[in-house]
């Protein structure tokens, strides 16, 4: 109950600034579109109507149709679900692996800690797009592959923050007391350390959502991301770009949606961070 009340307070604080409120509104819109896509959309996003391609905006098709006669508005709405699904699952992977490795690093002897940190450095030094290209070449393009790639590339990010937060906690008196009382390491980490560092990590996660959305769009733009017929914003931009001379609406609308969504998530994530801990993850 207290946690909920805390969260509500943080949210209220985050929305106090204009930027935070703007971000929150955009995030809410994207979330609604993503969660209730089948109801918010007016058409089946994959239904082809090849004879009615490049139709302009009308009462039937609010934003017109694309090069295969699919309803653009419905595809944009479903694109939000794809973006959110990819972003949330990729971040979940990064959060879990990163936190585990980060906690491990904080409690391991110096040599083990150095090994984990170097692992983080290797992943960070390896150009992520190259990693993505290679992994896609092995497994073929699919949504799952995108999720795993993005999750892996973000792991060091969470790992470092988790480690830093845990290090600060390690010598905290209440943990010292637990240890003297004979609590196992697992219990200490799960029951006491994790809950205390989770807040900052979740804020970090919210700030990484736009990053993931952008990476997914980039990969899909290169034809290496989610598979057709799935409507991802990157796929929509690529399709629109290919048929730019037939109609400029698709590329403008989908690039706009992507830009607005990433902007909204960034604004909201930052307001959230400022409300929780202004110094957190500032240097990225």
């Amino acid at each position: 109950m207290k946690a909920l009340r805390d969260a509500a307070a943080v949210l209220r604080a985050a929305c106090r600034s204009f930027a935070g409120a703007l971000g929150a509104v955009i995030v809410l819109l994207v979330m609604v579109a993503a969660l209730f896509a089948p109801w918010v959309a007016t058409h089946d996003p994959d239904a082809l109507d090849i004879l009615n391609r490049f139709a302009g905006p009308s009462a039937a098709h609010w934003l017109g149709t694309d090069h295969l006669g699919r309803d653009l508005y419905s595809r944009l709405v479903h694109g939000a679900s794809v973006a959110m699904a990819v972003a949330l699952s990729a971040i979940a992977i990064a959060l879990v692996t990163g936190t585990t490795l980060g906690l491990l690093a904080a409690w391991l002897p110096p040599r083990g800690e150095a090994a984990v940190l170097i692992l983080f450095d290797i992943v960070a030094a390896f150009p992520s797009l190259v990693l993505a290209l290679a992994i896609v070449a092995v497994f073929g393009p699919s949504t799952l592959v995108v999720v795993v790639i993005v999750g892996l590339t973000l792991t060091p990010h969470f790992g470092r923050v988790a480690r830093a937060q845990a290090l600060a906690l390690r010598s905290a008196p209440f943990l010292e007391a637990e240890r003297i009382l004979g609590a196992s390491l697992g219990r200490i980490l799960l029951r006491h350390v994790l809950p205390n560092i989770l807040g900052p990590l979740i804020v970090l996660a919210s700030m990484d959502i736009p990053v993931v959305i952008a990476i997914e769009a980039g990969l899909s733009f290169l034809g290496l991301g989610v598979r057709p017929p799935l409507a991802s914003w990157g796929v929509l931009i690529q399709d629109g770009y290919q048929y730019l001379s037939d109609s400029w609406i698709p590329v403008l609308v989908s690039a706009g949606a992507l830009a607005v969504a990433t902007l909204g998530f960034t604004l909201f994530g930052e307001a959230l961070r400022d409300a929780v801990d202004p110094r957190l993850g500032r240097d990225r």
Binding site: I122, A125, H157, L267
Partner: protein
């Protein structure tokens, strides 16, 4: 720098070497896993089975794994990045021929980002709370949030097509620096935009933080002109985090350069890697990714070292420098 400095230096060098080594292992693992062969990919049905087998032999793909790993590592150690299976020429020469164009793009983008981002950040910090500060704040976020390939497409459309101001594509005539410079503007801008917003925000927040420090207040109390306080003390200290970010930025820009190079049809390392992976030209992939990783590590090492030189306290915090 005393003994502590030397130990710090040695430690950083060792980590850098380990990172490069780890990246090499990763690279090797990837090329061992990826299916497909360049003969079939490039020649389609014209690739005869004998020819495909020949490619496989030349890339050493028919040998046992440990032998291939050893060959790859020992070749790299002697400076041999392998041979491009298609043209039969050394990969090193190939990488060197396209590297300048990516390096120029990356550094112009970073330069642009600093030139535009630092003044904007200072302005915002010195006009804290004003309308301009608020507008800049949202604008900076917008710059950061919009992916560079979207910016690239929009720039291409607006400036080259609708306004017809700038030549659009490719790297330009190699013998004509002005032509090359013109063709650099849009890609560099597309790549830099996000970092402009980023640096502006960073400079702003670092400066505000520094200006609240006691010694700045002391300086003011002694009646130092506000301009000197701002530029001499506050800005100097605000540069430190900016520097660290630049190291990361250069590394990340190389990744971002791939998409921008593709949209603007520019030659470069990003494109080379993208094309080489899509045709499964493994020696080229390995050689050029290795160069990218080494570049990234070296730049970060330099940044870390200069960071430590500016602020010796950081050495004691271990690897604080490039930590994200």
């Amino acid at each position: 720098m005393g003994a502590g400095g030397a130990r710090y230096l040695a430690g950083r060098l060792l980590t850098s070497l380990l990172i490069v080594f780890g990246a090499m292992l990763l690279l090797f693992a990837l090329s061992a896993l990826v299916p497909g062969d360049p003969a079939a990919t490039l020649l389609g049905p014209q690739a005869t089975p004998e020819f495909a087998a020949r490619f496989v032999r030349e890339m050493g793909l028919d040998r046992p794994l440990h032998e291939r790993l050893w060959l790859f590592l020992s070749n790299v150690l002697t400076g041999n990045l392998g041979v491009d299976v298609l043209s039969g020429r050394p990969v090193a020469g190939l990488v060197l021929s396209v590297l300048p164009s990516t390096v120029i793009l990356t550094f112009s983008a970073i330069g642009l980002a600093v030139l535009a981002g630092v003044p904007l950040g200072i302005f915002a910090a010195t006009h804290r709370g004003s309308v301009a500060d608020n507008v800049l704040a949202i604008l900076s976020v917008a710059f950061i949030a919009v992916p560079s390939f979207v910016v690239a497409i929009l720039l291409l459309l607006v400036f080259s097509l609708w306004l017809d101001w700038l030549p659009v594509l490719g790297g330009g005539d190699a013998s004509d620096p002005i032509d090359q410079a013109k063709r650099l503007i849009l890609p560099a801008l597309a790549l830099a935009l996000g970092w402009i917003g980023f640096i502006a925000r960073l400079v702003r927040s670092s400066m505000l933080e520094v200006m609240a420090e006691p010694y700045i207040r002391t300086a003011r109390a002694y009646g130092l002109p506000e301009r000197i306080v701002t530029y001499k003390y506050a800005l100097k200290n605000a540069c430190i985090p900016t520097l660290a970010i630049l190291g990361l930025g250069i590394g990340r820009l190389l990744g971002g350069a791939v998409l921008v190079e593709i949209v603007f049809a520019r030659p470069g390392l990003g494109r080379l890697i993208y094309d080489a992976i899509s045709v499964r030209n493994f020696p080229v992939v390995q050689g050029s990714v290795l160069v990218v990783v080494v570049l990234f590590v070296v730049v970060n090492l330099l940044v870390d070292l200069s960071y430590a030189a500016i602020d010796p306290r950081l050495r004691d915090q271990g690897r604080g420098g490039a930590a994200r």
